[in-house]
């Protein structure tokens, strides 16, 4: 112990006085430009083997103190890195950077505390720059902005509701019931991305029918982040890259780096967006006649009454298109961002304040987000850097009431049975008529109901990097990183007693309060050792800890006093509380070796334990290893055709926790007569539950030709998930419906091909393009329990089924063919492709667009079914098969016979984003830059899908994406942008 203390003391001393290591210094200046002589602002100029460095100013200039005979490195995103050796005569440098189309010099994260250049990388790691994320046609939320941009990912918008709700699956399904969503790490902070339900089930009873999920469609919390603040995103798609993140990395890791301060004159930028949002597509409504109105009832008297109602409405000109009235609003959007960067050689900062306000396509819906960010980097001594990034977000989303329900109260379900001749509008006194065709008057619900989700979130990340020891061939750094993520979320749903649908509950107020605190830290030592010019070794080791503490209190008040919203102003109140805590501890070590700058070997291991596991004390080991071999750097390589040719392979393991509480068999509260009761839960606990374990093998080759103007990346991966968790259906006569079991193994295999090119480079016109192609195939390779039907509403309407030897995302359903049950489709697309293009004219005008093609993949579409059952679908009266019976009745007749009608191809080709921007450049002495542009999102979609949008998910973020039950329709956006730099 004493020795340990001595060591600690020694370490501490080193932290304090490393300055003496540098004796002589000199000052150099320089200017960095691109190949055309345009200054490169913000390029980083660093001295090798030190933490010294500066960034270039707006004119590309820098000034730097360096030791004698130093090597300085000049790098900037999008350019090849240059290294220059200095001597005593060096004073003013003119540096021209070459464009790096293949991004070979981009620095990519490979460990918890280490990075490597893409040139030497063993994995295909997708990166997204700010320009790609935000520079074409900004989306409403950060997560929506990722859509279509990540090769190897299946990204899907769950709902068109304001505030979003996005599902991101990297390289296929990694889990059926466990977490399928990647871990988001923003400036070293592990962000919480959970969804908190607003408890709307108390009104909709969506869970009371065929599926126990509440189907509240909450937004994902990662949506709180502002895309404008993001510098770049790296996506570690599987265990071979992400193993070092341990148990939380099973579904991949999205590493987000926000903008940092730049040394030099303080720069102020202001940007303003104005635009509108409107529904992308409407389904249409059935056009009634007196006869079809009468046919809504088989009772002669009712039938006659309906006929008269129709005729009266028709003669009064009161036949309405309620769908258009509900979803046809044009929402105004605005977004303002002011940012400021600056600093000196010691301290630099980035500050931004932003506010966004958008109205939705349904009246009284909308989204608002206010964000303040301050990132500060400070150099304590030449050897110690400290950085902190802070972000406060306040967001508020009015999300309306859409999606599945069993009480006829959501807009879509109510409209599905309301014919055009019904009168739903209020009279002059403001009284809404009773809708005789549904349990609610959706116009009344829309006008009087409130469903708000409000978040206050504060996130802080820090980063300490200290050189402990420095020699000629070796240096050791101590790196501490971490942060916390805290938010308060309030859901506020109010249904006044005057609503038609509140005749029993007599007014409902559902108030949810959630508090979440996540913390994480990493302490690591990193040693770089260069025994010779041909060999460089990087050793890192350290410990990590992550904790989470979530507390959700949901109060449901009914019989609410008129005009009141507080839950105490009510005749009845029920409360639910849910708490969740975890602590994960990790220990890791990683070794990276670079041999003759051509072969890179990486090996690492992470030991991890979690309070979520059955055995909380047991450490699980997650190893990883990778090799990359850059052939063009080998002596034997001849020829000039390839600038770069690399073979690579990587392997890694990671895990996914059992669901919280899966260890326990517990008892729910169930009271009667004022006495407290305990009723056994329907889920049987499994005390020896194990985490899911994932192994991933990735191999690929990268090359670039034509002086880097064309580069290509080809990757193949095979990702195996062992012991995947399944909620095994038990015979319910046991008293339990389900039990978590480690049920089997599944596999994802896929190919990702990426191409970056610069087909045209002239003085007046450049064209940059990237094309990506990817697909994934999954298979359940082993299942120890009988096939499990899950994720939708049973076989009659089409459902997912986990079955050995089959795709994990197959959609099966009943059929009238002899076999009874048949595979009708698969959620997995055949393949996806995207292309991102930027065309620049005279360095001033640029056109950017993103095309996304998803080929194949099926949805379970029940929206049309509900419209058929309500006899309001637009094509109800058609008779395509000429059998004399309206098609609507034909379709109703097939319910229970075949699920074919509900499983529908949801492929699409979508012009996700297109933007045209003009850069006016410097204007006068004050304005350093002025840009203006227009952009469109989702304006063009080619699809055969008959629902509102092929991107939909009634069950939100999880395994079963693509179930369509009267969703909040998707929208398209048009925006005008202007930004000024001062």
């Amino acid at each position: 112990m004493r020795k340990l203390l001595l060591l600690m003391a020694g370490l501490f001393c080193m932290l304090l006085m490393p300055g003496h290591l540098f004796a002589q210094t000199q000052t150099i200046t320089g200017r960095v430009t691109d190949a055309n002589g345009v200054p490169v602002a913000g390029a980083s100029v660093t001295v090798k083997q030190t933490t010294q460095g500066v960034a270039t100013d707006g004119e590309g200039k820098f000034k730097l103190n360096i030791p004698a005979n130093a090597t300085i490195t000049i790098s900037s995103t999008g350019f090849k890195t240059q290294t220059i050796k200095t001597d005593a005569s060096t004073s003013d440098l003119q540096i021209k950077l070459e464009e790096d189309v293949a991004k070979l010099d981009e620095v990519v994260v490979t460990g918890l505390a280490t990075t490597v250049k893409r040139r030497n990388l063993a994995n295909a790691i997708a990166t997204i720059s700010n320009k790609q994320l935000n520079g074409v046609a900004p989306a409403q939320t950060f997560d929506a902005a990722l859509n279509g941009k990540v090769p190897g990912a299946y990204i899907n918008a769950n709902t068109g509701a304001p505030g979003g709700g996005i599902s991101v699956k990297l390289r296929g399904v990694t889990s059926v019931f466990g977490n399928t969503q990647p871990l988001y790490v923003v400036d070293n902070v592990f962000m919480d991305n959970s969804s908190t339900s607003a408890g709307l089930n108390a009104v909709t009873a969506a869970a009371a029918g065929g599926n126990a999920s509440t189907q509240d469609n909450p937004s994902s919390r990662i949506a709180d982040l502002r895309a404008e603040d993001i510098e770049n995103i790296e996506i570690l798609k599987g265990a071979s890259a992400a193993a070092i993140y341990g148990s939380r990395a099973a579904a991949g890791v999205v590493i987000i780096t926000t903008k940092k301060g730049k040394q030099g004159k303080t720069k102020i930028s202001f940007s303003q967006d104005l635009g509108f949002v409107e529904v992308r597509k409407l389904l249409g409504v059935r056009q009634f006649t007196a006869e079809t109105a009468a046919s809504l009832s088989s009772d002669p008297a009712t039938s006659e009454a309906l006929k008269q109602q129709f005729l009266a409405a028709q003669s009064a000109g009161k036949l309405y298109d309620y769908e258009k009235e509900m979803y046809g609003e044009k929402g105004f959007t605005r977004n303002s961002v002011i940012s400021m960067t600056g600093g000196n050689d010691k301290t630099s900062f980035y500050f931004s304040a932003a506010q966004k306000k958008e109205d939705g396509i349904i009246a009284r819906t909308g989204y608002q987000n206010t964000s303040v960010r301050l990132n500060v980097d400070h150099r304590i001594t030449d050897n110690i850097k400290f950085g902190i990034s802070t972000n406060y977000v306040n967001s508020s989303a009015d999300r309306g009431l859409t999606g599945n329900d069993n009480n006829g109260v959501t807009y879509g379900i109510a409209l599905s049975s309301t014919p055009q001749f019904a009168e739903l509008h209020p009279d002059a006194a403001g009284n809404y008529p009773i809708n005789g065709f549904s349990a609610s008057n959706p116009i009344q619900t829309r006008d009087l109901m409130r469903n708000n989700e409000g978040v206050d979130r504060f996130t802080t990340g820090f980063n300490l990097d200290a050189i402990l020891f420095k020699g000629v061939r070796s240096n050791t750094r101590f790196i501490a990183r971490g942060g916390f993520d805290f938010y308060n979320l309030q859901t506020d749903a109010q249904f006044p007693s005057s609503l038609q649908s509140q005749s029993v509950a007599k007014g409902t107020s559902i108030q949810g309060f959630s508090k979440n605190l996540n913390t994480n830290f990493l302490l690591s030592l990193v040693n770089n050792y260069t025994p010779s010019d041909n060999l460089s070794l990087t050793t890192s080791a350290g410990v990590t800890q992550e904790t989470g503490d979530y507390n959700n209190l949901l109060n449901v008040a009914t019989q609410v006093i008129s005009g009141q919203g507080n839950v105490d102003q009510a005749g009845a109140l029920t409360a639910q509380q849910f708490r969740q805590k975890f602590q994960n501890d990790g220990i890791f070590a990683q070794e990276e070796a670079t041999i003759i700058d051509a072969i890179t070997l990486t090996a690492g291991i992470r030991f991890d334990r979690s309070t979520n596991n059955g055995d909380i004390k047991k450490y699980n080991a997650y190893p990883k290893a990778g090799v990359s071999w850059n052939l063009t750097r080998m002596n034997f390589w001849n020829g000039n055709f390839f600038d770069n040719f690399k073979l690579r392979a990587a392997y890694g393991q990671s895990a996914n926790f059992p669901a919280y509480g899966s260890k326990f068999t517990s008892l729910a509260v169930s009271n009667t007569g004022g006495f407290p009761g305990s009723l056994v839960n329907i889920q049987l606990g499994k005390s020896d539950i194990k985490p899911e374990r994932q192994t991933e093998l990735e191999a690929g080759l990268d090359f670039s030709v034509l002086k880097g103007r064309l580069s290509m990346e080809v990757s193949y991966y095979s990702k195996k998930i062992f012991d995947f968790l399944l909620l095994n259906t038990l015979p319910t006569s046991s008293g339990f419906s389900s039990q978590w079991v480690n049920a089997g193994d599944l596999r994802n295999r896929g190919v990702e091909i990426g191409l970056n090119a610069r087909p045209v480079v002239t003085k007046n016109f450049t064209w940059n393009t990237s094309v990506n192609f990817w697909f994934n195939r999954s298979r359940v390779t082993n299942l120890t329990i009988p096939p499990v039907v899950l994720g939708s509403f049973g076989l009659a309407l089409g459902s997912f089924r986990i079955e050995e030897g089959k795709s994990a995302t197959q959609i099966v359903g009943i059929t009238d063919e002899p076999q009874g049950i048949k595979v009708w489709g698969d959620q997995e697309p055949d393949f996806q492709m995207n292309t991102f293009n930027e065309l620049t004219f005279k360095n001033k005008l640029s056109l950017r667009f993103l095309l996304h093609w998803k080929k194949g993949g099926e949805n379970i579409n029940l929206t049309n079914l509900l419209n058929d059952l309500g006899q309001t679908s637009p094509n109800f009266d058609n008779d395509d098969n000429k059998n004399g019976v309206p098609d609507g009745f034909d379709r109703i007749g097939r319910i229970g016979v075949t699920a074919q009608d509900f499983v529908e191809n949801s492929g699409y080709l979508r012009l996700r984003e297109i933007g045209l921007y003009y850069n006016f450049g410097t204007m006068g002495k004050v304005v350093k830059g002025l840009r203006a542009g227009v952009s469109l999102n989702n304006f063009l979609t080619i699809t055969n899908y008959s629902g509102y949008d092929p991107e939909v998910s009634n069950f939100g973020t999880g395994f079963s994406t693509g179930v369509d039950v009267d969703p909040f329709p998707a929208s398209k956006r048009a925006t005008f942008h202007i930004s000024i730099d001062l």
Binding site: L4, L7, M8, G209, S297, S298, D299, A305, N406, N407, G408, I413, A414, I434, F437, A439, L468, S474, T476, S503, V504, L523, L525, V543, Q545, T574, R579, Q580, D585, I587, R609, T611, G661, T665, S666, L667, A668, S670, N671, T672, G673, G674, F675, G677, S678, L679, V680, G685, P731, T732, S733, S734, G735, F736, S737, L795, L866, L869, I895, G896
Partner: protein
């Protein structure tokens, strides 16, 4: 170099030591676990299980009533969200063994059975209660378990149920109708034995008002036994059981025990209640209810006229089901009116026609009808009359289907649409196979 390594290892060791001591077990932060209840449970904990059992009995009770009501054409259940009430249940489509109409009630009843088994186990191993108390818990748990099993058997009929379900991973076999009824009767008899000399010191709530001590609860137990006895066609046994029950031939029809509802926290509202003249989600009396009723019968008030009739899937009715008149109205478990009719039934079958007719007249007069008249009373006529009285007296209380099935008279029920059918049983859920 060596020094660097020393520092590295030292720091790591230090942190590792710190870490291994920090690991906590958070346990279940939200709910008690079964293990905690089986570990020498206190009376308070056992009482929680009693209340949980009484509360759990009410889950999906509305759906059970809908199942029985719709299949036996007492009523229609229209739902904007689920067509299966008017397709599957009425025979327009086959009943599915994954359909919510069987899986939900089946699971909910067995969940209560499980709760009863936990109560039995917890009370059996507790050293904190007296033997008399233990017998009280045991008598309660067995009675309730028998009742819940009976409700499931009513749905699956000859497809059977499981009776032995204490080990969730090693369940007993599915047994047929007769065997299951025998087992249920046996459970009720065991419970009766336990209740002799038992101390029922736990609260049973207002639904058991008047029957909340050992003697009172025994009467409930015997009333249920009488119901099971007539299901088993054991007519004299039925009379014996009635004798020990709360049967009162001159008493209030509604004396008995029921599931009660409330607006308190964690409580439930009556799922079988809908406001009159609702739209979309409705329960309507089958048109035959009003057509077949005798003039003057006050039980017409259980099917009130709507402002406008409601239709769905080619079915129409102009009367709401109006049995449960508020969201906190109780649902009877068993009540005197049924006991009187069981008394009548057993006596008809035993040939005591006068006794039987007296009982039937009690019911008829109680609802504003004159005495039953038949110059030549015979078993068949009397059974018809008894079934008719049960139809109106126990309307939407979950009996009609079982009653018509017991007498092989399902074919007498009305069919409204071509292609519809009257089912005689529901399938056992797929998950049981």
């Amino acid at each position: 170099m060596k020094r660097i390594i020393n520092i590295n290892i030292g720091l790591l060791l230090f942190l590792a030591v710190c870490f291994s001591s920090c690991q906590k077990d958070y346990g279940n932060l939200n709910q008690p676990t079964i293990e905690s209840y089986l570990d020498n449970a206190s009376a308070a904990q056992l009482n929680n299980l009693v209340t949980g059992t009484l509360s759990g009995m009410r889950i999906t009770e509305g759906l059970y009533l809908d199942d029985i009501g719709a299949i036996s054409r007492e009523m229609y259940r229209f739902s904007g969200a689920d067509p299966r009430y008017v397709t599957d249940l009425l025979g327009a489509a086959a009943l599915s063994n994954t359909g919510f109409y069987i899986t939900n009630p089946w699971a909910a009843r067995y969940r209560v059975v499980k709760n009863c088994n936990i109560l039995l186990q917890a009370a059996g191993s507790s050293s904190l209660i007296s033997d008399a108390q233990r017998k009280g818990y045991s008598g309660f748990a067995k009675t309730m378990k028998a009742y819940e099993l009976l409700l499931n058997l009513n749905l699956t009929y000859t497809n059977g149920i499981r009776v032995e379900v204490s080990d969730p991973l090693n369940l007993g076999p599915i047994v047929g109708y007769d065997e299951a009824l025998t087992a249920i009767a046996g459970l009720l008899d065991d419970a009766k034995t336990d209740l002799g000399g038992a101390d029922v010191s736990f609260p049973l709530g207002s639904g058991f008002a008047g029957f909340s001590d050992a003697a009172g609860f025994t009467k409930v137990n015997r009333a249920l036994a009488a119901r099971v006895a007539v299901y088993r066609k054991q007519w004299s046994a039925a009379l014996t059981d009635l004798n020990d029950s709360f049967l009162d031939l001159t008493g209030n029809f509604y004396t008995g025990v029921s599931e009660v509802f409330g607006t308190g926290s964690g409580d439930q509202l009556n799922p079988a209640f809908f406001v009159q003249n609702s739209n979309g989600e409705v329960r309507l009396a089958h048109p035959s209810y009003a057509q077949d009723i005798e003039p003057g019968d006050d039980r017409i008030s259980k099917a009130t006229l709507r402002n406008s009739s409601a239709s769905s899937g080619g079915l129409t009715s102009d009367r709401d089901v109006w049995v449960y008149k508020s969201s906190t109205a109780p649902i009877p478990i068993i009540r005197n009116e049924e006991l009187i009719l069981i008394y009548a039934e057993a006596n008809i079958q035993l040939g005591n026609f006068d006794e039987a007719i007296d009982a039937i007249n009690t019911i008829r007069n109680g609802h504003g009808l004159p005495d039953y008249s038949n110059s030549e009373p015979n078993t068949n006529d009397l059974i018809t009359e008894m079934l008719n009285q049960r139809r109106y007296s126990l309307f939407f209380e979950g009996h009609r289907w079982i009653d018509m099935r017991r007498y092989d008279r399902l074919s007498e029920l009305p069919i409204d649409r071509e292609g519809d059918e009257i089912w005689d049983k529901m399938p056992v859920p797929l998950t049981e196979q």
